[in-house]
């Protein structure tokens, strides 16, 4: 019994050691990254469907904390108004956005392409939504792209870049 346990631990040590050593060397990895299109991968599409629903709800509810919770702690948001690094900065950015331009509806990204790269996924597509402005509802749309990584049982956004048309100018200052 003890011999089996020993062997199992040796195996465990080696299996952890090999990838560690591979990452420490500077020699080029002879393996090209495994890439695949996720179209047809029902499980992956289901998981990203859940994420898309959470995202739509968070935006439609103008809930900056819920939006930020979709990101990893070290995530990056690349938006027309700048680069926002870290979950806190992203939450603050959305608090400001929702205050100035509250969403009344956020549509799930359409024409969204998902590609797996090893244990991460990247996507690109188009998004749309309706915002409330001082002169009434405004329909906005744009392109977006994201990189997702696994955190526990969930996919989180490591990087999001998006734009909107028309560009949302800050409201005129009132004196």
């Amino acid at each position: 019994m003890k011999t089996r346990l020993l062997l199992a631990l040796v195996g465990l040590a080696i299996s952890f050691a090999l990838p560690t050593f591979a990452q420490q060397t500077n020699t080029p990895d002879p393996r090209i990254a495994q890439q695949r299109d996720l179209v047809g991968d029902v499980k992956a599409l289901d998981e990203f469907g859940v994420l898309a629903t959470k995202q739509s709800e968070a935006f439609t509810n103008n809930d900056a904390a819920a939006v930020a919770a979709l990101f990893t702690e070290d995530a990056v948001l690349v938006a027309p108004d700048g680069i926002f690094s870290g979950r806190q900065a992203i939450q603050k950015r959305y608090e400001d956005t929702f205050q100035r331009w509250p969403f009344t509806l956020f549509n799930d990204p359409r024409e969204c392409h998902l590609k797996a790269i090893d244990n991460a996924v990247w996507s690109f597509g188009e998004w749309g939504g309706t915002l409330q402005s001082q002169t009434g509802p405004v329909f906005v749309k744009g392109y977006c792209s994201a990189i997702y990584v696994r955190e526990g049982d969930a996919w989180k956004i490591r990087m999001l870049t998006l734009t909107e048309r028309p560009r949302l100018a800050p409201p005129a200052e009132t004196k």
């Binding site: 020993l6 631990l9 890439q35 690349v78 690109f124 792209s145 734009t163």
Partner: protein
């Protein structure tokens, strides 16, 4: 005797596991950073020489470039090396400006690298997010996806 050995092996297993997990969050290896910087510099040189074929050769066959602006200004989605080469040829007709690229952030995504940069072409300014993958033949990094955010005025 066997118990200390067991503990050592268990410690060894955990000791190897922790840095493996930690490395996933780490910055890009300095050597890889240099390689990406060299590839990005070559890209800018090729752009400023108006060499669309050389630019397209820096992308994977199934690469995608997504541009945030209207298709009438050569924006939208361009998929595949051929379409990307054509896209650059159109760029050269639309904008005679020189490209300047400044790397802002670089981080690993599994075996790939994500690069965020400030880019300007003449008066057009914006950000780019690029995913580079390592190619074997020749051994270099190629662009798998680029998102260009807000370049034209």
């Amino acid at each position: 005797m066997k118990i200390p050995l067991l503990s050592t092996l268990a410690g060894l297993a955990i000791g190897f596991a922790l840095p493996t997990i930690a490395q996933e969050q780490k910055a890009v290896d300095p050597e890889v950073r240099q390689q990406i910087e060299a590839v990005a510099m070559k890209f800018v040189e090729a752009y400023n020489k108006r060499d669309a074929a050389a630019l397209a050769a820096g992308y994977t066959a199934d690469a995608v470039e997504v541009r945030s602006w209207a298709t009438s200004w050569n924006g939208g989605t361009h998929s595949g090396q051929q379409a990307i080469e054509k896209m650059f040829e159109t760029d050269f007709k639309l904008n005679p400006g020189k490209m300047v690229n400044k790397l802002v952030q670089l981080y690993p995504i599994a075996n790939e690298v994500c690069a965020i940069a400030n880019r300007s072409v003449g008066t057009w300014k914006g950000y780019t997010v690029t995913i580079y993958v390592r190619a074997l033949d020749p051994d270099t990094w190629r662009v798998h996806m680029t998102y260009v955010n807000e370049l034209p005025p």
